[in-house]
């Protein structure tokens, strides 16, 4: 049996690679820690000294200003030194391998890597390399790897759901749209499953639903109305424009017609259902502006909670 590489021999979280494999206790502890950090952002001095003297390296092999910024803010509020590396324009573009880059940064005494990479499993490779070279004291946070996972987004989504719904028992949650390419969907599904949501549905055409996704404990709906029926939480996913050229969809217009969230379609969900989106949104494609700007949309609070949850992850990994 292979051991989950994000846990140490005693089952403690030392890296965050996936929401899969985390126990309900571990997830709850992270969410509770997030709650305790939420107040920090409201203070005049928005800092706690938990990571003072530590160096956090943001390694973004794929561009994402927003995710990188929220990690940067989170680390700074924990008093860490933050070094941002835009890898798409740096040494890897000159042919250096991923692990050579990691070795170099280790030599600069990094304490934590926040990694975004276009290949599923890239952070796992780094963790494996650190373990082989006896540097498991350096923590790795997956900030999005290919289609595989985006665990801090998964955690902030869970935080948001718990915040608005009080818990997970009996909850019906629908994820809408491009599940196939979505690391957010996978992270949400694992966390929702572990936290005990009653029903998790994925909604989309067969071209955007991964094979045998039912094995993760979700129901598949081809039709939006049946997928939304009686839902408490609706999560719209970003639809990339390039899906049309990949013959996965005929057009954004047709996608919007079948799967776009409108107030009218949302009538199938519970009246108090919240609407979430990991951003950035394509207004008029997966979500109508009228929905995105309505009170039931909790998209901006997601961003705020995201900082608290990233602080929570960093502090828990660092032994806080």
């Amino acid at each position: 049996m292979m051991l989950d590489p994000q846990l140490d021999a005693d089952g403690n979280l030392i890296h965050l690679l996936s929401t899969e494999g985390l126990s309900r206790d571990q997830l709850t502890r992270l969410l509770d820690t997030g709650a305790s950090f939420l107040g920090v952002s409201d203070r005049d001095v928005k800092k706690v000294p938990l990571l003072r003297g530590k160096s956090v390296f943001n390694l973004f092999f794929e561009n994402s200003t927003r995710t990188r910024t929220t990690f940067e803010i989170a680390a700074k509020r924990l008093s860490a030194d933050v070094i941002n590396l835009n890898m798409s324009t740096s040494s890897t573009a000159k042919g250096e391998t991923l692990l050579d880059t990691v070795d170099n940064l280790c030599a600069m005494h990094a304490d934590m890597f926040v990694v975004r990479h276009e290949s599923s499993g890239a952070p796992h490779l780094i963790v494996d390399h650190l373990r082989r070279t006896g540097r498991s004291d350096i923590h790795v946070i997956n900030a999005g790897d290919g289609r595989h996972g985006h665990p801090t987004q998964g955690l902030l989504d869970m935080y948001t759901i718990r915040h608005y719904k009080g818990g997970f028992e009996g909850l019906k949650v629908a994820l809408i749209g491009d599940i196939l390419h979505s690391r957010v969907a996978r992270s949400d599904i694992h966390a929702l499953k572990t936290l005990g949501a009653e029903s998790i549905r994925v909604v989309g055409p067969q071209t955007l639903i991964p094979t045998d996704i039912e094995s993760l404990g979700v129901g598949v709906h081809r039709d939006l109305d049946s997928g939304l029926k009686d839902c408490d939480v609706v999560i719209a996913l970003r639809l990339q424009r390039e899906r049309m050229s990949g013959a996965l969809l005929p057009s954004a217009t047709e996608f919007h017609d079948r799967y776009g969230l409108t107030h009218e379609r949302l009538k199938a969900a519970k009246p108090d259902a919240i609407v979430m989106h990991p951003g950035p949104m394509n207004r008029g494609v997966e979500i109508d502006s009228a929905v995105a700007d309505s009170p039931r949309a909790v998209i901006l609070p997601q961003v705020t909670f995201g900082i608290a949850m990233r602080m929570a992850v960093m502090s828990v990994l660092a032994g806080g």
Binding site: D4, L125, H148, T211, L216
Partner: protein
């Protein structure tokens, strides 16, 4: 080289072709087997090899070993693995699409080793899938078949023409059945696992469509087709059906696919990146049974020596393949063990049946045959360790695994070419 006469004394001689399996001595003179059991009249041994407790089997025949890069190291690896005849696919550097390149490979191999190296030429120039390579000249240069490397050409019309042309020059065509578009971007078997890990998927249909296309065209053209590295239960079923219908088609399986399946990817282990990808548990079972019943004729090492620079990278970016020629024997034996086959049957897919597909005389322990022999200890266990591998490629998902069956001595053309120290 001197033509020593050798007596291999007291071993358990197994000839899979005849299912002979008895304690006997083997007598070698002038590079050939001159006697089994009974000492030939006037035979005088210059050297006696004690094979007590060991199996004396034919030198192994490997239908797929990429001996590129450090060719000398790969040939040393071959004999350390008991392999004395091998076919090298065309998708090596340089691509074997010109007669001179094939000739040069054969000549280089002959200069440094007694291993018989049989190149498989490229079916299309540069394996680009557009213009035909010089199949007839490639054959004259020593190629035993032509192949498109991994997968079929994108353009089915090119495949049709290639099969027509190959049939006209009586050149066998070896094809890895993978429909071009369905397989070109994928890296993992299309399944719950790939969905969970977020890996781009290759459906089984990529294999079955390719096989159906090739079979239809083979029927129409009369081309002799061999399918390399069948990976799925459906693929095995299609091959069985075609063979039952009397089509002259054969197939092989990568020996790693008799043991590993998709779950072995674990947490994105790049060493388990293969092309075709590791498929499901049911596929592995079907491959095991298909090989046992003879639908699939041969097990191949699919030896691909690769360096850390292309393997210690994220799974999706890792080059497919692994070093394997030194594991061919123990992994084949482990397959036989799993199916409770006697040794004389376990060895068939890497000896006589593989030689039959190649169309060369090899893979037999019989009087008059070239004395290519693999003497191994069937009980010896060993743990795969990169320092013990002679190949320049040290990377395989079997590193750290304990395997049973180890080559002790290899003879090629009557010469001891490997002795384990």
């Amino acid at each position: 080289m001197s033509a020593k006469s050798i007596e291999i004394r007291g071993g358990r001689v197994i000839d899979p072709a005849s299912q002979f399996d008895e304690a006997a001595s083997v007598f070698i003179a002038n590079g050939k087997i001159v006697g089994i059991g009974q000492t030939p009249a006037g035979f005088k041994a210059d050297q006696v090899i004690d094979a007590q407790g060991l199996v004396v089997a034919p030198g192994l025949v490997d239908l797929s070993a990429r001996i590129a890069g450090n060719i000398d190291a790969e040939l040393a690896a071959a004999v350390a693995g008991g392999v004395t005849t091998l076919a090298c696919p065309p998708d090596v550097d340089p691509i074997l699409d010109e007669p001179e390149l094939a000739e040069r490979l054969v000549r280089h191999a002959e200069d440094v080793s007694l291993v018989r190296v049989l190149p498989v030429g490229a079916m299309t120039q540069g394996l680009s899938g557009s213009m035909l390579a010089e199949m007839s000249l490639l054959r004259d240069a020593g190629c035993i078949a032509v192949s498109q490397g991994r997968g079929l050409p994108a353009d089915t019309r090119v495949l049709w023409r290639a099969l027509q042309y190959a049939a006209s020059c009586d050149v066998p065509v070896w094809l890895q059945p993978a429909e071009y578009h369905l397989s070109k971007e994928g890296i993992a078997h299309d399944s719950a696992l790939a969905s969970r890990l977020g890996l781009a998927a290759i459906p089984v249909a990529a294999e079955t469509l390719a096989m159906q296309t090739v079979l239809a065209l083979a029927k129409a053209t009369g081309a002799r087709v061999h399918f390399t590295q069948i990976s799925s239960a459906e693929g095995v079923a299609l091959l069985r059906e075609a063979r039952d219908a009397g089509l002259p088609v054969t197939g092989d399986v990568a020996v790693h696919a008799l043991h590993l399946y998709e779950q072995d990817i674990g947490y994105f282990d790049p060493l388990t990146r293969f092309d075709p990808p590791l498929r499901g548990y049911g596929d592995r079972e079907a491959l095991r049974l298909g090989l046992a019943e003879g639908t699939i004729g041969a097990a191949v090492s699919a030896h691909t020596p690769l360096g850390l620079d292309v393997k210690r990278v994220p799974f999706a970016e890792a080059a497919p393949g692994a070093t394997g020629i030194e594991l061919l024997l123990p992994l084949t034996l482990a397959w036989g063990e799993a199916l409770s086959l006697p040794l004389r049957r376990s060895l068939l897919p890497v000896t006589a049946r593989a030689a039959e597909i190649l169309g060369v005389e090899a893979g037999q322990v019989a009087v008059g045959q070239r004395a290519d022999l693999c003497i191994f200890d069937p009980e010896a266990t060993w743990t795969v360790n990169e320092n013990d591998l002679r190949s320049a490629g040290k990377l395989t998902p079997f590193l750290g695994r304990t395997l049973q069956g180890r080559v002790v001595t290899t003879l090629a053309a009557g010469q001891p070419v490997y002795e384990r120290s």
